[in-house]
Symmetry: C2
Amino acid sequence: MSEQIEPIATMAAELNRLPGIGKKTAQRLAYFVASMPLEDVRSLSVALWEGRKAIRFCQTCGNYAAGERCAICEDAARHNGQICVVRDPRDVAAFERMHTYGGLYHVLHGTLSPMDGIGPDQLRIRELLSRLDSERVREVILATNPDVEGEATASYLARLLKPLGVRCTRIAHGVPVGGDLEYTDEITLQKALEGRREV
Amino acid sequence: MSEQIEPIATMAAELNRLPGIGKKTAQRLAYFVASMPLEDVRSLSVALWEGRKAIRFCQTCGNYAAGERCAICEDAARHNGQICVVRDPRDVAAFERMHTYGGLYHVLHGTLSPMDGIGPDQLRIRELLSRLDSERVREVILATNPDVEGEATASYLARLLKPLGVRCTRIAHGVPVGGDLEYTDEITLQKALEGRREV
């Protein structure tokens, strides 16, 4: 029995490498691309390649940038003394979708993971320290993920920064809004209890 | 508040045009592409563009082909007198996944849809008729979708082909394997009843 033709198989194999695109979805997408007008495939292909080539990292915070500095660091109104430390640029995008945080960011490009050979020197920690000198930083908000590496990175940074006289805060853990207590794991529930406030 | 940078927005907009890729998925994919090694993005981009350019239609059956004729039409063992008529090349792929059908195909590239101005002349029906002359065709299996256009196309073809002395069959409608009678719509159930067989 004959299989799908080579160009479609190649497209499907490449699409299959994207996250969340399984084998079947990749094949469905490849067939769709095969039926798209040439011009549309061209603009998709060009957007991916030229887009990827155009991506730079902000020299200050490490976020994605089209130029030397990202739009957030370029915005004078955002220099309010707060720096939110995150693992990668996707986390910046998540915070920006909130539309309420008005400070700056610092992207570490990873979290401490000794097993994978990622120590403090592999992260953008030196750059963070130099910003404490050059910018008026009132508060560093440690917003790495609430997983093992994220917690380890946050406590490492807290131990490093506090002696320098900078206020360090950690984002709250607790029950997600809209979540259900019954389906909340014990550790999250415990964190939610520990973090309780007067009402 | 600043939004995502331009190259990522463009990538997301292009990815958003693919079927099943919503706005959020498109943005997630765009961020992923932004973090991929340049070489990998290049091969993805090239696979899509070169792949699309390489796609031809088989001159005999209308299926996707890398050359003048598709692999199925090139395979002498498949010339068994059966032609399975489908709407588009994706349907050929669906049949081929069965790994049991041993005949040939004919891709109409659409179904009759007078509302959209698609009549018999817009489909590859003339090509099908000429195959009846040049190939020894015993049976034409009408395998268009079980929807209004598919049914209309199948009965049109049956009326056209039967007087020429060719056996015409229609794929069976019924309850899908693994389906649940309770959740089967009435028309499907009626077709399943009408198509019942001795056991």
